[in-house]
């Protein structure tokens, strides 16, 4: 009996590890920016190049920072959710249009609705690199002190919004 028990146990442990491995998403790379101040930038705004946008302007409030582009298919998926969220007024969404053209981006906002308080225009992706962006859309939750608390890589889903982002935002707002 013992003869078979040990190999069986080893096999079960192995299967358990393989199972865990299968369920991990290799695209979810932990961001080293969590817990660190949001990198400072000053970029021209998408709607008006003469105005600029900087994370400093948002100090004192909890905000979402959504990196998107008109050429990005997954952004299209999450867009209605962002529009709906912006209508609730729970948390302001600021955007950054990543490696895009002003015309395409503006057209996209006109068509799909504009959930953003304002958009920064990162034409060459430089600020994107500072934020460790590698697959748009990416969304950061930034607290009142300008610290990045959470990062969502890929589109926000209803589950992520309901289970992670909204509870987090509400907690941060009472701080």
């Amino acid at each position: 009996m013992k003869r078979f028990l040990i190999p069986l146990l080893i096999f079960i442990v192995l299967v358990a590890f393989l199972g865990i491995g299968l369920n991990l998403d290799p695209r979810e790379v932990p961001s080293p920016l969590i817990g660190k101040p949001a990198p400072i930038f000053s970029l021209a705004r998408l709607d008006d190049p003469s105005k600029s946008m900087s994370p400093k302007d948002m100090l004192g409030k909890v905000w979402l920072f959504n990196v998107w582009a008109s050429w990005c298919g997954a952004c299209r998926d999450e867009h209605p959710l962002l529009v709906a969220l912006s209508k609730t007024g729970i948390v302001p969404i600021y955007g950054m249009d990543y490696k895009d053209t002003r015309q395409d981006a503006q057209q996209w906002l006109d068509m799909g609705g504009n959930p953003y308080v304002a958009n920064a225009f990162d034409v060459n992706g430089r600020v994107g690199i500072d934020y460790g962006v590698y697959g748009v859309p990416e969304t950061y939750v930034i607290d009142k002190k300008g610290i990045i608390v959470f990062k969502q890589i890929g589109p926000i889903t209803e589950e992520v919004l309901r289970d992670k982002i909204l509870p987090l935002v509400k907690g941060l707002q009472t701080q």
């Binding site: 290799p26 695209r27 790379v29 932990p30 961001s31 080293p32 920016l33 490696k99 060459n124 992706g125 430089r126 690199i129 500072d130 934020y131 460790g132 590698y134 697959g135």
Partner: protein
């Protein structure tokens, strides 16, 4: 005179230059600064492209990889060391951008895990061999049994 010179010396020389293999050379880096290019090359084979995760920055054609190579090129041109450039990228993308993970508490298991497995396997092997040795000793015949065997054998012959 001039025409003669052209025909006899200049044209053959030109011919030789144009068609000789002196021109066939390894493709030179497009950028002028060879030292910088070498550094970019060296670093981009050490760093992972995050879009297509199993490729290095040097191998990847993703746009982000282009951007990052350009970023590295500019840092290299500013005279930053390999380590400074790697630190810059790790600060933004995490240790995952490095193909050689650094040695730190979070990666101890990664670095020492194989040796732990080796030690565990070796220990298991020793235990098993000892046990087998013991079992073999047990199966040896006692003197009493041995006498009996001889008795039987003698009877046969």
């Amino acid at each position: 005179m001039m025409k003669n010179f052209l025909m006899k010396r200049f044209l053959p020389a030109l011919f030789l230059i144009v068609f000789s293999d002196a021109w066939s050379n390894e493709a030179r880096p497009l950028q002028e600064n060879v030292v910088v290019e070498e550094q970019v090359q060296r670093l981009s084979t050490e760093l992972r492209c995050l879009v297509c995760q199993n490729q290095t920055l040097a191998d990847s054609h993703a746009e982000l990889a282009d951007d990052l190579r350009q970023e590295i090129r500019e840092m290299a041109a500013k005279g930053m060391s390999d380590q400074q450039i790697i630190d810059y990228l790790v600060a933004r993308y995490g240790d995952f951008v490095r193909y050689r993970p650094p040695l730190k508490p979070a990666t101890f298991l990664l670095w020492f895990g194989p040796f732990l497995l080796l030690i565990a396997g070796g220990a298991g092997l020793i235990v098993m061999l000892r046990k087998r040795q013991r079992d073999m000793n047990e199966t040896l015949l006692s003197t009493e049994e041995l006498n009996k065997v001889h008795e039987l054998l003698d009877k046969e012959s």
